[in-house]
Protein backbone atom coordinates (compact mmCIF):
# COMPACT_ATOMS: atom_id res chain seq x y z
CA UNK A 1 0.00 0.00 0.00
CA UNK A 2 1.20 3.49 -0.86
CA UNK A 3 2.63 5.56 1.96
CA UNK A 4 1.16 8.95 2.81
CA UNK A 5 2.08 11.59 0.26
CA UNK A 6 3.23 13.91 3.01
CA UNK A 7 3.93 11.86 6.13
CA UNK A 8 2.63 13.59 9.19
CA UNK A 9 0.34 15.95 7.23
CA UNK A 10 -3.17 15.72 8.60
CA UNK A 11 -4.44 13.74 11.58
CA UNK A 12 -3.30 10.15 12.12
CA UNK A 13 -6.90 8.87 12.24
CA UNK A 14 -7.45 10.11 8.68
CA UNK A 15 -4.44 8.18 7.39
CA UNK A 16 -5.52 5.10 9.34
CA UNK A 17 -9.00 5.41 7.83
CA UNK A 18 -7.56 5.55 4.32
CA UNK A 19 -5.38 2.50 4.93
CA UNK A 20 -8.32 0.60 6.39
CA UNK A 21 -10.59 1.35 3.44
CA UNK A 22 -7.89 0.29 0.99
CA UNK A 23 -7.39 -2.93 2.97
CA UNK A 24 -11.14 -3.52 2.55
CA UNK A 25 -10.68 -3.42 -1.22
CA UNK A 26 -11.91 0.11 -1.96
CA UNK A 27 -10.70 1.19 -5.42
CA UNK A 28 -13.08 4.04 -6.31
CA UNK A 29 -12.92 7.18 -4.14
CA UNK A 30 -15.42 9.83 -5.20
CA UNK A 31 -15.84 13.23 -3.63
CA UNK A 32 -16.94 16.79 -3.63
CA UNK A 33 -14.01 18.35 -1.77
CA UNK A 34 -14.17 19.35 1.86
CA UNK A 35 -11.38 20.28 4.25
CA UNK A 36 -12.42 17.41 6.52
CA UNK A 37 -11.61 14.91 3.75
CA UNK A 38 -8.29 16.43 2.70
CA UNK A 39 -6.14 13.46 3.71
CA UNK A 40 -8.43 10.94 2.01
CA UNK A 41 -8.50 12.99 -1.20
CA UNK A 42 -4.74 13.68 -1.23
CA UNK A 43 -3.94 10.02 -0.57
CA UNK A 44 -6.31 8.89 -3.34
CA UNK A 45 -4.61 11.24 -5.81
CA UNK A 46 -1.21 9.66 -5.21
CA UNK A 47 -2.38 6.05 -5.04
CA UNK A 48 -1.77 4.27 -8.37
CA UNK A 49 -4.28 1.53 -7.56
CA UNK A 50 -7.23 3.84 -6.90
CA UNK A 51 -9.56 5.82 -9.13
CA UNK A 52 -9.82 9.29 -7.57
CA UNK A 53 -13.03 10.82 -8.90
CA UNK A 54 -13.99 14.45 -8.29
CA UNK A 55 -17.73 15.05 -8.73
CA UNK A 56 -19.70 18.14 -9.68
CA UNK A 57 -22.47 17.18 -7.25
CA UNK A 58 -22.71 14.49 -4.60
CA UNK A 59 -25.56 12.54 -6.20
CA UNK A 60 -23.22 11.64 -9.05
CA UNK A 61 -21.26 9.60 -6.54
CA UNK A 62 -24.31 7.61 -5.41
CA UNK A 63 -24.88 6.51 -9.01
CA UNK A 64 -21.15 5.95 -9.63
CA UNK A 65 -20.86 3.54 -6.72
CA UNK A 66 -23.98 1.66 -7.82
CA UNK A 67 -22.24 1.10 -11.16
CA UNK A 68 -19.06 0.06 -9.36
CA UNK A 69 -21.03 -2.56 -7.46
CA UNK A 70 -22.56 -3.90 -10.67
CA UNK A 71 -18.99 -4.41 -11.87
CA UNK A 72 -17.80 -6.01 -8.64
CA UNK A 73 -15.77 -3.04 -7.32
CA UNK A 74 -15.96 -1.25 -3.98
CA UNK A 75 -15.94 2.48 -3.46
CA UNK A 76 -16.51 5.23 -0.93
CA UNK A 77 -18.26 8.58 -1.32
CA UNK A 78 -16.93 11.61 0.56
CA UNK A 79 -18.94 14.77 1.09
CA UNK A 80 -19.75 17.60 3.43
CA UNK A 81 -23.09 17.43 5.24
CA UNK A 82 -24.52 20.07 2.90
CA UNK A 83 -24.07 17.56 0.06
CA UNK A 84 -26.35 15.03 1.70
CA UNK A 85 -29.29 17.13 0.60
CA UNK A 86 -28.17 16.77 -3.01
CA UNK A 87 -28.37 12.97 -2.79
CA UNK A 88 -31.92 12.41 -1.64
CA UNK A 89 -33.71 11.13 -4.75
CA UNK A 90 -30.61 9.30 -6.01
CA UNK A 91 -30.66 7.26 -2.80
CA UNK A 92 -33.83 5.63 -4.14
CA UNK A 93 -31.48 3.81 -6.54
CA UNK A 94 -29.48 2.51 -3.57
CA UNK A 95 -32.55 1.52 -1.60
CA UNK A 96 -34.52 0.01 -4.46
CA UNK A 97 -31.71 -2.11 -5.86
CA UNK A 98 -30.16 -2.78 -2.43
CA UNK A 99 -26.77 -1.50 -3.49
CA UNK A 100 -24.15 -1.45 -0.75
CA UNK A 101 -23.04 2.16 -0.17
CA UNK A 102 -20.49 3.74 2.15
CA UNK A 103 -20.60 7.51 2.61
CA UNK A 104 -18.24 9.53 4.79
CA UNK A 105 -19.83 12.84 5.73
CA UNK A 106 -17.85 15.68 7.29
CA UNK A 107 -20.24 17.71 9.40
CA UNK A 108 -20.96 21.41 9.27
CA UNK A 109 -23.64 23.19 11.25
CA UNK A 110 -22.47 21.08 14.17
CA UNK A 111 -20.33 21.48 17.32
CA UNK A 112 -18.96 25.04 17.45
CA UNK A 113 -20.18 26.11 13.99
CA UNK A 114 -19.67 29.84 13.35
CA UNK A 115 -21.42 30.16 9.99
CA UNK A 116 -25.20 30.38 10.35
CA UNK A 117 -25.73 29.25 6.74
CA UNK A 118 -24.56 25.77 7.71
CA UNK A 119 -27.18 25.05 10.36
CA UNK A 120 -30.28 24.09 8.37
CA UNK A 121 -28.61 21.24 6.47
CA UNK A 122 -26.39 20.31 9.40
CA UNK A 123 -29.48 19.79 11.55
CA UNK A 124 -31.26 17.83 8.79
CA UNK A 125 -28.38 15.57 7.76
CA UNK A 126 -29.08 12.54 9.93
CA UNK A 127 -32.87 12.74 9.51
CA UNK A 128 -32.61 12.96 5.74
CA UNK A 129 -30.26 10.00 5.48
CA UNK A 130 -32.42 7.88 7.75
CA UNK A 131 -35.55 8.86 5.86
CA UNK A 132 -33.94 7.37 2.73
CA UNK A 133 -32.99 4.15 4.49
CA UNK A 134 -29.33 4.89 5.18
CA UNK A 135 -27.87 3.67 8.49
CA UNK A 136 -26.14 6.56 10.27
CA UNK A 137 -23.06 6.08 12.45
CA UNK A 138 -21.09 8.89 14.02
CA UNK A 139 -17.56 9.58 15.20
CA UNK A 140 -16.79 12.58 17.38
CA UNK A 141 -13.40 11.62 18.80
CA UNK A 142 -10.20 10.31 17.20
CA UNK A 143 -10.39 6.99 19.05
CA UNK A 144 -13.95 6.42 17.69
CA UNK A 145 -12.95 6.64 14.03
CA UNK A 146 -11.37 3.24 13.41
CA UNK A 147 -13.99 1.12 15.18
CA UNK A 148 -16.76 3.10 13.48
CA UNK A 149 -15.23 2.65 10.03
CA UNK A 150 -14.70 -1.05 10.68
CA UNK A 151 -18.33 -1.45 11.77
CA UNK A 152 -19.50 0.47 8.71
CA UNK A 153 -17.43 -1.68 6.31
CA UNK A 154 -18.92 -4.86 7.79
CA UNK A 155 -22.45 -3.49 7.50
CA UNK A 156 -21.88 -2.32 3.91
CA UNK A 157 -19.93 -5.20 2.35
CA UNK A 158 -20.96 -7.95 4.73
CA UNK A 159 -24.65 -7.16 4.99
CA UNK A 160 -25.18 -5.05 1.87
CA UNK A 161 -26.48 -1.98 3.70
CA UNK A 162 -26.13 1.71 2.90
CA UNK A 163 -24.21 3.41 5.73
CA UNK A 164 -23.16 7.00 6.32
CA UNK A 165 -20.43 7.77 8.85
CA UNK A 166 -20.79 11.32 10.14
CA UNK A 167 -17.46 12.84 11.15
CA UNK A 168 -18.44 15.47 13.71
CA UNK A 169 -16.99 18.94 14.09
CA UNK A 170 -15.79 17.96 17.55
CA UNK A 171 -13.44 15.56 15.70
CA UNK A 172 -12.65 17.78 12.71
CA UNK A 173 -12.55 21.13 14.49
CA UNK A 174 -14.89 23.96 13.58
CA UNK A 175 -13.76 26.32 10.84
CA UNK A 176 -12.87 29.79 12.16
CA UNK A 177 -15.01 32.78 11.08
Amino acid sequence: MAEAARPGAGPAWAHAMYDQLRAQGVTQIAYVPDAGHRVMIDRSLTDPDVHSIPLTTEEEGVALLAGADLGGARGVLLMQSSGVGNCINMLSLTAGARFPLLMLVSMRGDFGEGNPWQFPMGRATQAVLEAMGVVVLRADAAQDVMPTIQAACTMVWGSGEAVAVLLGQRLLGAKAF
Binding site: I53, L70, M90, G96, A97, F99
Partner: protein
Protein backbone atom coordinates in the same frame (compact mmCIF):
# COMPACT_ATOMS: atom_id res chain seq x y z
CA UNK B 1 -50.50 30.09 -21.00
CA UNK B 2 -47.29 31.66 -22.17
CA UNK B 3 -45.52 29.86 -24.98
CA UNK B 4 -41.91 28.78 -24.58
CA UNK B 5 -39.80 30.24 -27.35
CA UNK B 6 -36.97 28.50 -29.11
CA UNK B 7 -33.54 29.84 -28.17
CA UNK B 8 -32.70 32.49 -30.75
CA UNK B 9 -29.97 31.83 -33.29
CA UNK B 10 -29.85 28.03 -32.99
CA UNK B 11 -30.22 26.33 -36.35
CA UNK B 12 -30.65 22.58 -36.24
CA UNK B 13 -32.23 20.31 -38.83
CA UNK B 14 -35.59 18.87 -37.85
CA UNK B 15 -35.30 15.41 -36.34
CA UNK B 16 -36.37 12.78 -38.85
CA UNK B 17 -35.24 9.43 -37.43
CA UNK B 18 -37.61 6.94 -35.78
CA UNK B 19 -35.91 5.70 -32.62
CA UNK B 20 -37.36 2.21 -33.09
CA UNK B 21 -35.15 1.87 -36.17
CA UNK B 22 -32.28 4.20 -35.31
CA UNK B 23 -31.34 2.81 -31.90
CA UNK B 24 -31.01 -0.85 -33.04
CA UNK B 25 -29.17 0.36 -36.16
CA UNK B 26 -26.62 2.18 -33.99
CA UNK B 27 -26.30 -0.43 -31.19
CA UNK B 28 -26.03 -3.47 -33.41
CA UNK B 29 -25.11 -6.08 -30.80
CA UNK B 30 -26.41 -4.85 -27.43
CA UNK B 31 -25.55 -8.20 -25.86
CA UNK B 32 -21.84 -7.40 -26.30
CA UNK B 33 -22.02 -4.42 -23.93
CA UNK B 34 -22.48 -3.84 -20.23
CA UNK B 35 -25.27 -1.27 -20.26
CA UNK B 36 -26.66 1.34 -17.88
CA UNK B 37 -29.82 2.74 -19.51
CA UNK B 38 -31.77 5.78 -18.36
CA UNK B 39 -35.46 6.11 -17.77
CA UNK B 40 -37.59 5.67 -19.57
CA UNK B 41 -37.32 5.28 -23.36
CA UNK B 42 -33.73 4.06 -23.48
CA UNK B 43 -34.24 1.58 -20.63
CA UNK B 44 -37.30 0.21 -22.42
CA UNK B 45 -35.59 -0.14 -25.76
CA UNK B 46 -32.33 -1.68 -24.47
CA UNK B 47 -34.35 -4.16 -22.42
CA UNK B 48 -36.49 -4.92 -25.48
CA UNK B 49 -33.40 -5.31 -27.69
CA UNK B 50 -31.85 -7.82 -25.25
CA UNK B 51 -35.08 -9.57 -24.20
CA UNK B 52 -34.62 -8.05 -20.70
CA UNK B 53 -31.05 -9.33 -20.70
CA UNK B 54 -28.86 -9.52 -17.58
CA UNK B 55 -26.23 -7.21 -19.13
CA UNK B 56 -28.63 -4.24 -19.00
CA UNK B 57 -29.40 -2.24 -15.86
CA UNK B 58 -32.39 -0.16 -16.94
CA UNK B 59 -33.63 2.58 -14.66
CA UNK B 60 -37.27 3.05 -13.70
CA UNK B 61 -36.52 6.00 -11.41
CA UNK B 62 -33.50 7.80 -9.92
CA UNK B 63 -33.49 10.14 -12.90
CA UNK B 64 -30.00 11.25 -13.85
CA UNK B 65 -28.17 8.11 -12.70
CA UNK B 66 -27.37 6.29 -15.94
CA UNK B 67 -24.19 8.07 -17.14
CA UNK B 68 -22.52 7.91 -13.73
CA UNK B 69 -23.53 4.28 -13.24
CA UNK B 70 -21.85 3.57 -16.55
CA UNK B 71 -18.69 5.34 -15.35
CA UNK B 72 -18.49 3.27 -12.15
CA UNK B 73 -19.07 0.12 -14.16
CA UNK B 74 -16.45 1.04 -16.77
CA UNK B 75 -13.82 1.65 -14.08
CA UNK B 76 -14.72 -1.63 -12.38
CA UNK B 77 -14.58 -3.64 -15.62
CA UNK B 78 -11.79 -2.17 -17.76
CA UNK B 79 -11.69 -5.17 -20.09
CA UNK B 80 -15.38 -4.88 -21.02
CA UNK B 81 -17.10 -2.37 -23.28
CA UNK B 82 -19.55 -0.24 -21.29
CA UNK B 83 -22.44 1.80 -22.69
CA UNK B 84 -24.28 4.53 -20.85
CA UNK B 85 -27.38 5.27 -22.91
CA UNK B 86 -29.98 7.80 -21.90
CA UNK B 87 -32.43 10.42 -23.06
CA UNK B 88 -32.13 14.19 -23.21
CA UNK B 89 -34.27 14.74 -20.11
CA UNK B 90 -32.30 12.28 -17.99
CA UNK B 91 -28.96 13.64 -19.17
CA UNK B 92 -30.01 17.22 -18.49
CA UNK B 93 -30.95 16.35 -14.90
CA UNK B 94 -27.33 15.53 -14.05
CA UNK B 95 -25.49 17.29 -16.84
CA UNK B 96 -22.36 17.83 -14.75
CA UNK B 97 -21.80 14.07 -14.94
CA UNK B 98 -20.52 14.62 -18.48
CA UNK B 99 -17.73 16.76 -17.02
CA UNK B 100 -16.85 14.12 -14.44
CA UNK B 101 -16.82 11.42 -17.13
CA UNK B 102 -14.65 13.52 -19.46
CA UNK B 103 -12.21 14.11 -16.60
CA UNK B 104 -11.84 10.40 -15.79
CA UNK B 105 -12.15 9.32 -19.45
CA UNK B 106 -12.08 5.52 -19.35
CA UNK B 107 -11.26 4.16 -22.81
CA UNK B 108 -13.95 1.46 -22.58
CA UNK B 109 -16.90 3.84 -22.07
CA UNK B 110 -19.33 5.32 -24.59
CA UNK B 111 -22.19 7.69 -23.78
CA UNK B 112 -25.14 7.77 -26.18
CA UNK B 113 -27.98 10.27 -25.79
CA UNK B 114 -31.19 9.50 -27.66
CA UNK B 115 -32.51 13.03 -27.97
CA UNK B 116 -36.19 13.35 -28.87
CA UNK B 117 -36.47 16.92 -27.57
CA UNK B 118 -39.33 15.99 -25.27
CA UNK B 119 -40.24 14.52 -21.92
CA UNK B 120 -41.92 11.52 -23.49
CA UNK B 121 -43.10 9.89 -20.27
CA UNK B 122 -44.83 12.86 -18.71
CA UNK B 123 -47.01 14.34 -21.43
CA UNK B 124 -44.51 15.13 -24.16
CA UNK B 125 -43.55 18.57 -22.91
CA UNK B 126 -40.69 20.24 -24.79
CA UNK B 127 -37.31 19.61 -23.19
CA UNK B 128 -34.52 22.18 -23.28
CA UNK B 129 -33.04 20.38 -26.30
CA UNK B 130 -36.35 20.63 -28.14
CA UNK B 131 -36.06 24.39 -27.70
CA UNK B 132 -32.49 24.66 -28.90
CA UNK B 133 -30.08 23.48 -26.15
CA UNK B 134 -27.32 21.52 -27.91
CA UNK B 135 -26.01 18.61 -25.87
CA UNK B 136 -23.23 17.85 -28.36
CA UNK B 137 -21.73 21.29 -27.76
CA UNK B 138 -22.04 20.79 -24.02
CA UNK B 139 -20.23 17.44 -24.27
CA UNK B 140 -17.49 19.02 -26.37
CA UNK B 141 -17.18 21.88 -23.87
CA UNK B 142 -16.82 19.40 -21.03
CA UNK B 143 -13.92 17.85 -22.95
CA UNK B 144 -15.25 14.69 -24.58
CA UNK B 145 -12.52 13.75 -27.08
CA UNK B 146 -15.00 12.43 -29.66
CA UNK B 147 -18.47 13.91 -30.23
CA UNK B 148 -20.73 12.81 -33.07
CA UNK B 149 -24.23 13.97 -33.96
CA UNK B 150 -26.58 11.70 -35.88
CA UNK B 151 -29.44 13.41 -37.70
CA UNK B 152 -29.83 11.00 -40.61
CA UNK B 153 -29.54 7.30 -41.38
CA UNK B 154 -26.33 8.02 -43.31
CA UNK B 155 -24.69 9.37 -40.14
CA UNK B 156 -25.33 6.14 -38.22
CA UNK B 157 -22.40 4.42 -39.97
CA UNK B 158 -19.92 6.82 -38.40
CA UNK B 159 -21.62 6.28 -35.05
CA UNK B 160 -21.15 2.53 -35.37
CA UNK B 161 -17.47 3.05 -36.22
CA UNK B 162 -17.01 5.24 -33.12
CA UNK B 163 -18.73 2.66 -30.92
CA UNK B 164 -16.41 -0.06 -32.24
CA UNK B 165 -13.21 1.96 -31.67
CA UNK B 166 -11.52 2.32 -28.29
CA UNK B 167 -11.75 5.63 -26.45
CA UNK B 168 -14.36 7.73 -24.69
CA UNK B 169 -16.99 9.19 -27.00
CA UNK B 170 -20.34 10.98 -26.89
CA UNK B 171 -22.95 10.30 -29.54
CA UNK B 172 -26.08 12.43 -29.85
CA UNK B 173 -28.76 10.51 -31.73
CA UNK B 174 -31.50 12.98 -32.68
CA UNK B 175 -34.86 11.29 -33.19
CA UNK B 176 -38.48 12.34 -33.70
CA UNK B 177 -40.83 12.18 -30.76
CA UNK B 178 -42.61 8.87 -30.64
CA UNK B 179 -42.61 5.53 -28.86
CA UNK B 180 -39.53 3.46 -28.02
CA UNK B 181 -39.26 -0.27 -28.64
CA UNK B 182 -40.96 -1.85 -25.70
CA UNK B 183 -41.28 -5.25 -24.15
CA UNK B 184 -42.14 -6.36 -20.64
CA UNK B 185 -39.16 -5.82 -18.33
CA UNK B 186 -38.48 -6.27 -14.65
CA UNK B 187 -39.19 -3.11 -12.67
CA UNK B 188 -37.78 -4.61 -9.50
CA UNK B 189 -34.34 -3.02 -9.25
CA UNK B 190 -32.92 -5.46 -6.70
CA UNK B 191 -33.74 -8.34 -9.06
CA UNK B 192 -32.06 -6.52 -11.94
CA UNK B 193 -28.98 -5.83 -9.81
CA UNK B 194 -28.67 -9.41 -8.63
CA UNK B 195 -29.02 -10.94 -12.08
CA UNK B 196 -26.57 -8.43 -13.58
CA UNK B 197 -23.95 -9.39 -10.98
CA UNK B 198 -24.70 -13.09 -11.27
CA UNK B 199 -24.20 -13.03 -15.05
CA UNK B 200 -21.05 -10.88 -14.91
CA UNK B 201 -19.39 -11.94 -11.69
CA UNK B 202 -21.00 -15.28 -10.84
CA UNK B 203 -22.12 -13.89 -7.49
Amino acid sequence: MAQLKRIAGVNQPDAVLDRREAVPALIERPQDWLVAAGLAGTAQELCAMTDDGPNVFGLGGAMGAAPMMALGLALAQPSRRVLGITGDGELLMNIGALGTIALVAPANLKIVCVDNGHYGETGNQDSHTGLGVQLDRIAAGFGFPVVHVINTLAEIDEGRRILAAPGLAFILLRVKEGPALRKKRSLRPHVVRDRFRAALLGM
